[in-house]
Subunit: 250 residues, 2 copies
DNA sequence: TGAAAGCGAGAGCGATGCTCTCTCAAGAAA
DNA sequence: TTTCTTGAGAGAGCATCGCTCTCGCTTTCA
């Protein structure tokens, strides 16, 4: 049952020992390490998908990998560290999905690109509800996002704002010009300028609202707050996108 | 340390035995039971407030109450049952807060009433962030809202819609009449009519959006998604309310 | 070739949710 | 008043969890 005689294994083929140890001549220690980390995350994602975030247990991951639980602590010092890695991956996975969808829609009108990007967000969220919760649901207590995560988290806003900035000249709903003048009083305009490139400041509030509305909608949909009021969320989402597009002048 | 000789306690005064048992002549069994339930919930709320929902442990509640953990199972068969009771209370507490705020604002204009109600939601959420998460954050796995909870959950929407229906005749942003005609295709119009009394159907989508936007904003604010973009959430919230009021024609 | 570092096994600690049995007190029935 | 039923807490126990520590083996590197 244990794996005392790794020397007996066929040297040419890297493979899993019964006990989970990665061995074989053609897999360096570093490679084995990244492979193990990938496996841990893969199994964790599967576990989260079936039991939710709170159902993720290091011991069960270990059991699944036919490894003793203490072995996992070589790779993640803490359950929260594992979650942090998964959060990071989720942001990037979502961001990549939306970027991909937008890239394919480069010839569309601004309004259509906006809708396509928003639908990509929703599609990802509905396909990965628990990973969505990981990043947009209740945060894990004491969790503080590392800097790398912050960057990954801006990928979706960046796509939306690129669409916005490409759509200059179209006339939005009447803007409250007075309200837009003191925008630097309550927004981090310096940071926002790096994301909302070429978007006029009068639009910042509405841009943030649109971003917030998309995720607010998904939280309501996924968490059941639309039960009893919204019968067909697909259609409702399109209606919301219509309103948002009008608000943004798309 | 144990409480074998309750007969020796002063009969006239109901009091806690050292071991947690409620005793005394003037406290009936039923009264003692409701008192214990109230205490359990009170201690649980305090625990949630300091450690978050996931930090709520029946054993710690029991310790706090100087009672053995198994005793709590006389009142809540499961940790999730306790959470369900707390969710119910949270909905009602939030609903009552907003109703109270709106009742005091009956002489204000529709726009002001809308803002006052929305601010009441936000104030409650910021004062009870963990209870907010309980009802608007990631749901507990396998949780299904009992009917009584559903009713409690509609108290806030009811207030908002009452304000809306009282504000007929004001002209909203241009409504997409075409989009509003097939509202019964994707909304539960029968159920919505009982909440959105006297609100025209063309407004249903925007009314739902406003409701959703308020809570979406709070989730973003409380869960840190505005870090790096919104400097002063108080002001930003007012801007959002301006936009929503305009959208609703208030 | 030999020292250093990485990794998994395994035992163990304190904590969790939950179950079960035991005992005793309170309320209802006689 | 006495008997019987029911409700409540105590306490032991089970399976599980996150996490720590030591041990022995293997890979890596000087």
């Amino acid at each position: 049952m244990t794996c005392k005689s790794t020397a007996l294994l066929i040297a040419g083929a890297a493979r899993w020992c019964d006990t989970g140890r990665v061995t074989g001549r053609n897999l360096s220690r570093a490679e084995a390490r990244t492979a193990q980390i990938a496996t841990i995350k893969k199994v964790s994602r599967a576990l989260i998908a079936s039991k939710g975030v709170s159902g993720l247990s290091l011991r069960e991951v270990a059991r699944e990998m036919r490894v003793v639980s203490s072995a996992l602590y070589r790779y993640f010092a803490t359950r929260d560290d594992l979650l942090t890695a998964l959060i990071f991956d989720a942001y990037n996975d979502l961001g990549a999905s939306v970027e991909r969808a937008d890239a394919k829609a480069s010839s569309e009108s601004a309004g259509d690109r906006f809708r396509i990007a928003a639908r990509a967000v929703r599609r990802w969220a509905k396909r990965h509800p628990h990973e969505y919760s990981l990043i947009y649901g209740t945060p894990v207590p004491n969790y503080v996002a590392p800097v790398t995560t912050i960057e990954a988290a801006t990928r979706v806003p960046r796509v939306l704002s690129k669409i916005l900035s490409n759509a200059q000249g179209v006339h939005p709903f009447p803007l409250n010009v007075e309200a837009a003048r003191d925008v630097d009083q309550f927004l981090e305009v310096d940071a926002l300028e790096e994301v909302l490139v070429d978007v006029p400041r009068e639009m910042y509030v509405r841009a943030l609202m649109a971003w917030n509305m998309i995720f607010g909608f998904l939280s309501f949909e996924l968490y059941g707050h639309y039960v009893g009021s919204v019968k067909n969320a697909n259609v409702m989402f399109e209606k919301v996108l219509d309103e948002l597009a009008a608000l943004l002048g798309l």
